[in-house]
Symmetry: C2
Subunit: 212 residues, 2 copies
DNA sequence: CCATTGAATTTGACAGTGTAAATTTTCCAC
DNA sequence: GTGGAAAATTTACACTGTCAAATTCAATGG
């Protein structure tokens, strides 16, 4: 135990120590402090204390860096949903509304990160990538929470898509300022509960049924 | 009727004729042909046949140009919803589903334009602007179509938000490739109808009721 | 008819961006 | 130690948005 002060967990590598996670962390910090349009390869490099061309050895261009930052964002996002769901009882409707609350809490806590993650190009690459599992997108949490409403031999994607569509659209409207400026007393927005009441109509979905 | 070949409708102004609409049209064409990341002040200027600094006299920077292009996009978007609604009968549920179809048809016909319009920054500026009316966002069509489900003294925003959230979230999932590659036989995606069946639960919303 | 005026446009410049190649630094295996 | 490979830097280039100065051109007043 001598001078491993700069070697956190994985192997200390060569120069910087752990440049890749450092760049991702720098990117998240820039998103939080300065917003999406300030997220730049050169800025992340400067914040991590390396030259502007260093990131090229760890990411496939700026798109690769953005994808890695989004991946980290989805990790936080998933934990938000899990935390919210952990605070409610076993009622299936309550559990669905809980992950929706977690969803919106994340969106309002990290709006720029949220915007990056659900950028069409970024999420398209993750969704269609064969190496990114559903769990990396938090989609496994949604799936688990929706199972009580899916009949044994039915396709779960229907109920999942209903819930996911409603909550994502609502989050977009909220961040777009449709319900007025943000209010610390109501971080979910003024009509979260009544809007989500649409999900009270969910019942066990029988295969061949129309859906609600 | 001599040489007014370059003067379409309004006054020919000085140099170019009608540079502002020409730049907007160039931007829309670039979005359709090349995608959102190729939408550039200099590129629009080049396509309109003017120098790279000419747009500055007609728009407030690149953000102003993007806002103007988005405004034009919302005009097309609104017509898509009106056209779709014009093809169905008076049943309120059918009319709501019709504008949802128009919504998705627009998203799949103009994905890059759709992405620009619903960029958080762009739509936030339009939503919160005191000079941009709801009709400029197509929101009036949504409101009109939802009125059968709003009690006389109830706030219409609840039902509107339920419908808008569901369809916008679904459109995002569709463009994100969640349902596989695009299929010309099912441009709305493979589960549009069952997902939208959630809206069959809409009834006249009484004030004080929880929402669905 | 011509000079003047002023808006529209162009030109030139600058800082910032992503990316690529060549170069230097650093560490690990031998 | 020494060689080689990985990591990081330096340098360069094309492209972007923005600004200030110069230029062009249409309309107007004389």
């Amino acid at each position: 135990m001598s001078d491993l002060s700069r070697a956190p967990l994985t192997k200390p590598s060569h120069h910087h120590g752990n440049l890749r996670p450092a760049l991702i962390e720098a990117g998240v910090a820039i998103l939080i402090e300065d917003g999406l349009d300030k997220l730049t390869l050169r800025r992340c490099a400067a914040r991590a204390g390396v030259s502007h061309a260093a990131p090229a050895h760890h990411f496939d261009g700026v798109d690769g860096l953005r994808a890695a930052i989004a991946e980290e964002g989805f990790r936080i996002f998933r934990n938000y949903m899990l935390d919210a769901r952990g605070n409610v009882g076993p009622d299936p409707h309550e559990r669905i509304k809980a992950i929706c609350r977690g969803y919106i809490y994340f969106a309002t806590d990290f709006p720029a990160l949220f915007e990056l993650m659900f950028n069409i190009k970024v999420i398209y690459d993750m969704v269609t990538s064969p190496v990114v599992p559903d769990s990396a997108l938090g989609y496994d949490v949604l799936r688990d929470t929706c199972t009580p409403f899916v009949a044994p031999d039915a396709d779960p994607i229907l109920v999942e898509t209903q819930v996911w569509s409603l909550i994502h659209g609502y989050g977009t409207l909220l961040l777009a300022g449709r319900f007025g400026g943000s209010n610390p007393d109501a971080p979910l927005g003024p009509i979260f509960d009544p809007v989500m009441a649409l999900l009270d109509q969910l019942t066990v979905h029988q295969p061949g049924q129309t859906g609600a």
